[in-house]
Amino acid sequence: AVDWKKFSGQTINVNLVKSPRSETLIKYLSEFESLTGIKVNAEATPEQQQRQKTVIELSTGKPSFDVVHLSYHVQKRQFEKGNWLADISGFLKDPSLTDASLTEKDFAEAGLLFAKDSKGVLRSLPFSVDYWIVYWNKELFEKKGLSYPTTFEELVNAAEKITDPSTNTYGFVARGLKNANTPVWTSFMLGYGAAPINGQGKVDAVSKEAVEAAKLYQRLMTKAAPPGVSGFNWAEAQSAFLQGKIGMWFDGVGFAPPIEDPQKSRVVGKTGYGVMPKGPAAQAAGTFGDGLGVVEASTKKEAAYLFCQWAISHDMGARLLQAGAGVPFRQSILADAKVREGVKMPGAWLDAVAGSGKISKLALPVVIPVTEFRDIYGVALTNMIGGADPATELKNATAQFEPVLARSEG
């Protein structure tokens, strides 16, 4: 069994991204401290800042933290290349450190893919998975006599039908702001059976499928989305949806809790949660995820590992899910009927999660300059909302991005 008290007395610093997930961790931190006797200094900062700071600190070789929370879809390659994360394969196999229930097999496929580096070495523990789903306003759908779309075609139709600027009502909203909007497009692309970077690591964003996906994006965002959407990040989109003026909102599964909070929402109980409709080539739920890693430079790797392990433990994962704050990567938790019973979110949400899990696909390429990728194509997408031709925009963006990619990978 795990010897929790072995590193009692040590102090570790934990650097988290501010989100409902990290808030759950912080909320129950005292449990971990009393369990292990390890003192934890945890701080959660907004995503953008946290990313900047952790990278700067890690690159100096003397980071001020032992555990780092990373977004796989953005930072995986970068962290690998910098050799910033410790190899924890050994810890996972050590029964005095790892609970028997935790095995590689328990993780969803996408999670393992995320957690292991290109050589197959385990560098982090997958913490939470984020599928993109469709939040839909049942009231607005009923009014127009519509039902939840099953294909992209239907999605567009429904969105356009619901849209009525005279009542300030719009059928569809998603991120339009540069950078944040790229995953929307790449998620669509999955439905066309394509990805922006092909298997050889080459950019492939001017394919017919890519252009089709971009056209879909353009159509939805220009015909059915509220004005100013090109400046919307998730926050603006969420605000709009919460006020009941939006038919469908396409974003991560983790944004659900405020929808069911009467202090924040006018759509409590009126919201449907739908799996991403089927595209012409495939049905796929864009998947993102984050994990917890032990910093290579840390001198308290074991204690840090204990923390990571605790964070993704059965109990903590259950709490995460039940609060609607996130979805654990561990199948055993999702499968546990007891856990499912405790979920506070509507059943439809859980169904959407489960349904998405079955068609999960990584939505962003695993490269170092993810931010540049998102920025460059994000600008192209924003331009499309402004009316630019998708094919040309994508071509220009690709021309810009190729050298960046070459520089970083070369």
Partner: protein
């Protein structure tokens, strides 16, 4: 006739009052809205048409600010960073303003102005590395030191203006009276420049208090200052305009109070100082 005159004058000044009120209204509107946001639940904050006075007042927004974050610690950090940076700036900036004014050393003033012209961002990485090598990261010192880049130029600039206007003869009189240069400065020049010192103190305080860029990179959980903490209220996956506005209000409140309280001095000092400020 006199009555007619008086009536015309009051009309004039009422007209001016009206125009001034129009000019000020965007300010009033803004702060009113800020207060309103901070007192509403999310559901009212997103409402359209907007609600100015909510039915349910959300005092909890303020509670949340103090509960969820270590706001008191950040407040204290801000006080320490700003206070120390400002006091240090006075300690070195006031004599320097004096020296520059007396030396007519415009060139040294330019060096100090360059600090003002340098984009703040370009300090960040080098200084972060520097502070890490020196092991200061994790303390408040990096922020204090970097805030000096903000405070010292303000103090020096305003003080140059003040010392240039104090008559040289006073100091000559003092030196004839037997004062050493240091005594001349301490016993004569300094007391006379008191209003300038107060103003530069207030302004340095305000601009240091408001500084945001430096804190993003140099501060961590223990050493974060208020503006950064406010920005950190933005959390992923949860809009929370109410607490955000409450936090924003809490940060600006001390400064706004100070402004109201010392507006005469600030106006006087800034007009005098700013005029020199080119």
């Amino acid at each position: 006739m006199a009555k007619r005159l008086i009536r015309r004058k009051t009309l004039d000044s009422l007209g001016l009052l009206f125009v001034a009120f129009i000019m000020v209204s965007p300010v009033i509107l803004f702060f009113l809205w800020m207060i309103s946001l901070s007192l509403k639940y999310e559901i009212d904050n997103g409402a359209y048409p907007p609600i100015l006075f909510p039915e349910n007042v959300a005092w909890s927004n303020y509670l949340k600010v103090f509960e969820e974050n270590n706001f008191l610690l950040y407040f204290w950090n801000s006080v320490l960073v700003t206070g120390t940076a400002t006091l240090l700036a006075l300690v070195i900036g006031v004599p320097s303003g004096y020296g520059i004014a007396r030396l007519k050393a415009e060139k040294s003033a330019v060096v100090i102005m360059i600090a003002r012209m340098t984009p703040g961002l370009s300090f960040l990485i080098p200084l972060f590395l520097l502070f890490q090598w020196t092991g200061l990261i994790g303390t408040l010192w990096p922020q204090i030191i970097i805030h000096l880049v903000v405070t010292v130029p303000i103090v020096v600039w305003i003080m140059i203006g003040y010392f240039e206007t104090t008559p040289m003869e006073l100091e000559e009189a003092a030196s004839i009276d037997g004062a050493t240069p240091w005594q001349v400065f301490r016993l004569v020049a300094l007391p006379i420049a008191k209003p300038g010192i107060v103003v530069s103190f207030i302004l340095a305080l305000i601009f240091s208090w408001n500084n945001f860029v430096f804190g993003i990179v140099l501060a961590n959980r223990e050493t974060r200052t208020l503006p950064v903490a406010v920005y950190n209220m933005l959390s992923f996956e949860q809009v929370s305009w109410g607490p955000l506005a409450a936090a924003a209000l809490i940060v600006t409140l001390p400064v706004l109070l100070l402004t109201m309280f010392a507006q005469k001095q600030i106006v006087a000092g800034l007009t005098a100082g700013a005029v020199k400020g080119g």
